[in-house]
Assembly symmetry: C2
Homo-oligomer: 200 residues x 2
């Protein structure tokens, strides 16, 4: 019997996935939670065999959860189930030692299958995504990422400078650097590209 905890913020999807997994005779959903903090609490209380988690959740993200599980050396596997086919996300997940990484685009049967594989000690990584993940690494450094995030919200260089305790000109230098590294024409395209790749 595979004992599962499910973390997913959209209630309807959470309910539906629970229904789906409960159809499997060898899988038992111990509980389901809507955010990262709740997941962390229930994780320690219920001690499931596998944590199935989304990435984008209020509070702790699924990636941060996976990192915590690894850091505390909890004896359980983590399977990420997400909408985002972003190479950067997969890489961070692998660095956190997750057992599985599935896209919500892949067929429903794959989920139970992946849980079994991971429970046996194997890995279940979306194959096409796995290729991409090693092809292009994030070329941005910390400052560039910070600056790009804020610029993407529509903030001007001076606003960003104030928030990061940098000078107006330095912010523009970092933005220029980021734009150059990503091979695009302006901050907006840079933001969009970085976001799409899962780098910010």
């Amino acid at each position: 019997m595979i004992r599962v905890l499910l973390a997913e913020d959209q209630a309807m999807v959470r309910g539906a996935l629970t229904a789906l997994l409960n159809l499997e005779s060898d899988i038992e959903v111990l509980g389901s939670v809507a955010d990262g903090e709740a997941a962390w609490r229930e994780l320690q209380r219920l001690k499931p065999d596998v944590l199935v988690t989304d990435i984008e959740m209020p509070g702790l993200t699924g990636l941060e959860l996976a990192q915590r599980v690894r850091r505390h050396e909890l004896p359980m596997k983590v399977v990420i189930v997400t909408t985002f086919a972003r190479p950067g996300f997969l890489r961070r997940a692998l660095d956190a030692g997750v057992g599985g990484y599935l896209l919500k685009d892949s067929p429903a049967e794959k989920l139970a299958e992946a849980l079994r594989t991971v429970h046996r000690g194997g890995r279940a990584i979306d194959p096409e995504l796995a290729l991409e993940a090693w092809s292009d690494a994030d070329p941005l450094n910390d400052r560039e990422r910070q600056v790009l995030r804020l610029a993407g919200e529509g903030q001007a260089a001076s606003d960003i400078a104030q928030q990061l305790n940098l000078s107006h000109g330095t912010v523009r230098n970092y933005l220029s650097e980021a734009i150059g590294k990503l091979g695009v024409a302006n901050r907006i395209e840079a933001y969009r590209l970085a976001r799409q790749k899962g780098w910010l």
Copy 2:
């Protein structure tokens, strides 16, 4: 017996929702499809009582589907199930005469409940969203929307002008108008706000 067709692009969610609905004894899922065109075909073939559809799908969106159903006067109800709490979307859905509009954030039981209500001829609209929808209408005109969409992709005024066969200056005038109407400081914020409201 309520006969349902399900349209949802994410395969895993599609499978999970099917499992969820099949648990209900008075609901039968006739089929499920992954995009708008397929939904339109199956709609005519299977003649379900209710179409349950996502909004963001390849090809036809759920909103366009609902419009078609209305225009062809097909004898079925439409229930939208979406991630997006955007007033503009709800308003367009209501204009298209949908029977229900639910958020994936609301609990799973609500779905079956909503299907029954709608099947009886009632309406199932997410209550908080319903309020918002009538409060703020889209202040933008067609040109402003077009220009804003392209600006949001990082295009410069001159590029946009070329694509729309307008002059460089006119594009900037429209952008300025949009920025003013939305009460923000620049094109990026304008784009984000308009998008969040479901106006573009």
